[in-house]
């Protein structure tokens, strides 16, 4: 008999959170702590969404999206999760670049970047300071017209090498390009430059295990293997959800599912005004990724060649080339034994930005061949840095945009939600339907571990406000009804 993953669930909750990505989990945790009854429904058997990992025979553990996050994550863990999680954050200091324009290693913070820009690229100190200042003060409301290209053009005219140094890592960190609003660059760039790049010691598996424990402690009803199929809406109000064929009542829904899926599939266009849907149709999804996972044999070691390595054989930074299936740019993440103390293991993950359409329409056979090719070309590129990688590693696997789509249900396997315009749609959802909220990777700036988790808190605040206003109304009505 098929297992009932909703066994013992209540018939109604205050809030149903759809999806256990970092935004969904953080919001669920906050809402439970604020006293609401919360159901967290996740279609996958694991929690974490893109913040995930997998284990393979031979003792390999591979992380998907743990390449680095800004120091702000410490505070986010400390305030919305636990001190123990905050204390597990460690810094990555060896960030390397290797491309036809320059080779260098940096600690990836403002001080070191200032030095490099001055000494290596010959930029005047005042210009650098002014650039940092401008990036830091990017204002949500008035900088929208300026693109990152224009920002670079005004500070470093014609200096394509400087552009690459400043842009390439951010393209990997949030999928933004030179033609996106400068503000989506400025916010993420400044977050990293503040103190550098950090990671979670213990790995994603440790983190998600701790988050799960905390959610349970705070009373969240967690249900994996639970696909939310529909959000029930009557008039302009949320009434409930349908999960694995079963209806559950709730006054509000916080969807961590992709914003476009939330509107088109879960809620249904018919529940929104036509002007709103017109705007929704303009929202562009971000691109996706390919990854190659390389597990080093037990007992083997690799030299420290840096933590993050941005490599490219392209002459210049070029968005189209970065996305091209003929890969010219890769980011390698090296995981040394300090990552998971006690295990004494090494692993390498190669990431490239990619387009869904390049992978979606291949036959099964072609898809397999293309994945093999990707692994082979990745190892060829990696040999330059770890010469005997083919002897040292005994596990190889590739993920494509199709893989990301399958696990997160995100349309076209998008790695970073939507382009900038998606944020307004996400924010405006509750103006269309009372009790309907979205949180998670959207609008470039709300993506990445830090962006997603903090956006979870921001939206949890709004759900709390809404739920309390409902409860207050009921209280006000109570005396007259006796």
């Amino acid at each position: 008999m098929k297992r009932d993953w909703l066994k013992g669930a209540n018939s109604a909750y205050d809030v149903v959170v759809i999806g256990s990505g970092l935004a969904g989990m953080t919001a669920a945790n906050m809402l439970a702590k604020l006293g609401h009854s919360v159901l967290l429904a996740e279609h996958h058997y694991n929690m974490g969404g893109l913040a995930t990992w997998f284990k393979r025979k031979g003792g390999h553990i591979l992380d998907i999206s743990l390449h680095g996050f800004p120091s702000g994550m410490v505070k986010t863990f400390r305030k919305y999760w636990t001190k123990e999680m905050a204390d597990s954050v460690i810094r990555l200091k060896g960030i390397r670049f290797d491309n036809p324009q320059f080779k260098l290693i940096t600690t990836f913070d403002k001080v070191d970047f200032t030095n490099i820009l001055q000494e290596r690229f010959g930029i005047v100190k005042e210009v650098i300071d002014d650039f940092f200042e401008t990036a830091r003060n990017m204002n949500f409301y008035d900088e929208l017209k300026m693109t990152t290209r224009e920002l670079f053009e005004s500070f470093f005219p014609g200096r394509k090498d400087v552009w690459r140094f400043l842009m390439e890592p951010i393209t990997y960190a949030n999928g933004s390009t030179l033609d996106d609003p400068a503000l989506s660059y400025g916010i993420v760039f400044s977050n990293f430059m503040d103190k550098g790049v950090f990671t979670y010691q213990g790995g994603t598996d440790e983190l998600i295990k701790k988050m799960k424990k905390e959610l349970i402690k705070n009373g969240v009803d967690i249900r994996t293997h639970c696909l939310v199929e529909k959000i029930h809406i009557e008039g302009k109000n949320v009434k409930g959800v349908k999960i694995n064929g079963k209806d559950i009542e709730c006054r509000s829904v916080l969807s961590n599912s992709n914003i476009l899926s939330t509107i088109h599939k879960l809620a249904g266009d018919e529940n929104f005004s036509s002007e709103f849907i017109k705007e929704v149709k303009k929202v562009r999804l971000n691109d996706s990724s390919c990854q190659v996972y390389i597990g080093i044999k037990k007992g083997e070691k690799i030299d420290n060649v840096g933590d993050l390595l941005f490599t490219s054989v392209a002459e210049e930074y070029d968005t189209e080339k970065i996305l091209d299936k003929q890969v010219t740019s890769r980011t390698f993440s090296f995981y040394y034994p300090e990552m998971r103390p006690g295990l004494d293991r090494f692993a390498i993950v190669s990431s490239t930005n990619a387009r869904f359409k390049d992978w979606a329409n291949l036959s099964e056979e072609e898809y397999k061949i293309e994945k093999e090719k990707l692994i082979k070309s990745t190892l060829d590129a990696l040999e330059k840095y770890v010469p005997d990688i083919r002897q040292k590693a005994d596990y190889f696997e590739a993920a494509t945009p199709k893989t990301f789509k399958r696990y997160t249900l995100a349309p076209t396997g998008t790695s970073f939600g939507t382009k900038f315009e998606g944020l307004k749609i996400s924010r405006d959802l509750p103006k269309q339907i009372n009790g309907l909220y979205h949180s998670g990777s959207v609008g470039i700036i709300m993506s990445g571990w830090l962006g997603a988790a903090n956006y979870g808190v921001i939206v949890a605040n709004e759900v709390d406000k809404f739920m309390r206003s409902l409860k207050n109304k009921i209280q006000e009505m109570a005396p007259t009804s006796v």
Partner: protein, 87 residues
């Protein structure tokens, strides 16, 4: 609540959201941001705590009223005057 109690209520909230800061030495007339490492997320936390503890809703347009301890007290005291300090 009297002025001192309102102040204490704000101190309690700050201690909760910035557990690693020394809240006892805060000066009332200087902006909180200058004395503590507070960002926009922290101010959001203050708003959430006020709602949770006192059922007070601070609209976004009033966020600027929370800039210093003195302005917090001035803004909150009328809203809290009939309240007992939560034990």
């Amino acid at each position: 609540m009297n002025r001192e109690e309102v102040r204490q209520a704000v101190v309690d909230i700050l201690e909760d959201i910035a557990p690693d800061e020394d809240v006892s030495s805060i000066k009332d007339d200087i902006s909180l941001r200058e004395q503590m490492d507070l960002d926009s997320m922290d101010f959001l936390d203050i708003v959430m705590e006020l709602r949770k503890r006192f059922n007070i809703e601070v609209p976004e347009s009033d966020y600027q009223e929370l800039v210093s301890m003195a302005s917090c007290i001035k803004y909150l005291q009328p809203l809290l005057k009939d309240r007992q300090l939560a034990s």
